[in-house]
């Protein structure tokens, strides 16, 4: 019989999507953590998130090895799972087939039934009934430039969805090797938002589209301020993506995947840059970089993180997140199965879990 879990308000819940299973970690004090396997043991979980806008529903992007790709949801902390009544499937005569589900994001607070998903081939899907039925955004699916979109190494994946908290008609999405797109009319049309971001792997390094965005986050109180980690640089926009400012500054590489932001101190941003060839930390020290001045300068944060000749850790695009406590927690999951956590804004780190399967995603929720 499935174990029944009851968690008190204030509990921090981490959802870890891994190459072989979905795990939950919980803590009341962020020092002592319990880890809970779920019934999705062995499943390839690209992303998972807990949505507590209308009840407490756990969503998972389950990309099976053999029998297809499914969004699943659980209302009992992962002990049992349901499939949508009408899940993500392309029309049979449309020429597109679902390859992977990359991300699931809650909609805005005032639309608690709305959930978004991003998939490969690049498309945005919307559910307006808490994940029971899904439909594609037609304007993006039929974007006039679509035939010229080329996949990146991870596929033609829509991996980032930012629904503007301040404007119900505005949203940004990130597609690997296509770039950032924005809608200002509730998804009726999409424009590229890549000005001044580089595509160093193309003949024209400043194209309208073709940039390989890796992750995008929005400032919590200044909605026009965005940060993105890109294949070719780390950028900030102060005008909703009309153009971008290179904020690599003193970072040792332009290449990285994750980026996360402290919701209470929005000039504080975290990133991890990597050796672009090996796709792991430079040198012998695994390092999280932090800016506290909106990208004017970056500080390496290493206390408690591993160092040694053998240390070659990679962090995927969804492998880092922050929680909503103040002072904020920062969590980093590696592709070699370590989960590191900091409860002081990155100054010191602890190994929260080890020997997990390769970690694809980490999301944090503080129970209300």
């Amino acid at each position: 019989m499935a174990e029944q879990h009851h968690y008190a308000p204030g509990t921090t819940v981490l959802a870890l999507g891994t190459k072989r299973g979905l795990f939950l970690m919980t803590s009341r004090d962020r020092e002592h953590w319990d880890i809970h396997p779920t019934a999705l043991a062995g499943h390839r979980i690209f992303y998972a998130m807990l949505d507590q806008r209308a009840g407490c529903r756990l969503f998972a992007a389950d990309n099976g090895d053999f029998f297809g790709n499914f969004i699943r949801y659980s209302d009992d902390w992962g002990q049992t799972w349901q499939e949508p009544k009408s899940g993500i499937q392309f029309p049979q005569d449309g020429g597109l087939s679902l390859k992977n589900i990359w991300v699931i994001e809650p909609g805005r607070l005032d639309a608690p039934e709305t959930v978004y998903a991003g998939v490969d081939p690049a498309s945005l899907w919307v559910s307006r009934d808490r994940g029971e039925t899904w439909e594609p955004n037609e304007a993006l699916l039929h974007h006039p430039t679509r035939e010229r979109w080329e996949p990146g190494a991870g596929g033609l994946c829509l991996h980032t969805i930012v629904a503007d908290r301040s404007n119900p008609d505005r949203m940004w999405i990130g597609i690997s090797a296509v770039g950032c797109l924005r809608t200002d009319d509730g998804g009726q049309s999409w424009v590229f938002a890549n000005k001044n971001t580089r595509a160093g792997f193309l003949p024209d390094i400043y194209p309208e589209f073709g940039q390989c965005i890796h992750r995008l986050v929005q400032h919590p109180t200044s909605p026009d301020v965005l940060y993105q980690q890109n294949h070719c640089g780390i950028y900030k926009s102060t005008n909703a993506g009309q153009d971008w400012i290179d904020i690599q500054q003193n970072l040792p590489s332009e290449f990285g995947f994750p980026i996360a932001l402290d919701p209470h101190h929005p000039d504080t941003v975290y990133t991890i840059v990597e050796d672009p060839e090996g796709r792991h930390n430079f040198g012998t020290q695994f390092t999280v970089y932090r800016t506290m001045d909106g990208g004017a300068s970056w500080e390496p944060r290493t206390k408690g993180l591993p160092e040694g000749e053998q240390v070659k850790l990679g962090v995927l695009r969804h492998g880092m997140c922050t929680d909503s406590h103040d002072p904020g927690g920062v969590y980093v999951g590696t592709n070699t199965g370590q989960l590191f956590g900091s409860q002081d804004g990155g100054d010191t780190w602890n190994l929260l879990a080890d020997f997990l399967p390769s970690i694809y995603s980490v999301t944090a929720t503080v129970l209300s």
């Binding site: 099976g64 090895d65 053999f66 029998f67 499939e83 499937q89 020429g95 597109l96 679902l98």
Partner: protein, 92 residues
């Protein structure tokens, strides 16, 4: 329409009430899959892409032969035959 017996692998049985074997009608493998999907909506998506192509790590055997080396989904199925569905031995 001929009646055929379909043997399902473990991961697919949850969708069909944990039955390991089903009996459906169909004159080709494609029709057998159509019949499975009619009886248990969603099964086709687990076997085939939306385009109709068989998923790469799904193997369907008829008379001990992988249908990929026969006529694919258009392989004829005779009355009373057995269709076996397996996931590939992928990864090692």
């Amino acid at each position: 329409m001929s009646s055929v017996t379909v043997f399902l692998p473990g991961p697919l049985r949850q969708k069909v009430g944990n039955q390991p074997v089903l009996t459906v009608s169909g004159c080709t493998v494609r029709e057998v899959i159509d019949a499975l999907d009619s009886a248990y909506p969603g099964l086709r998506f687990q076997l085939c892409y939306e385009s109709g192509e068989l998923r790469p790590f799904v193997n369907i055997f008829l008379r001990r032969e992988n249908i990929r080396y026969l006529q694919g989904l258009d392989t004829p199925v005779a009355p009373g035959e057995q269709v076996h569905i397996f996931p590939s031995v992928a990864g090692g």
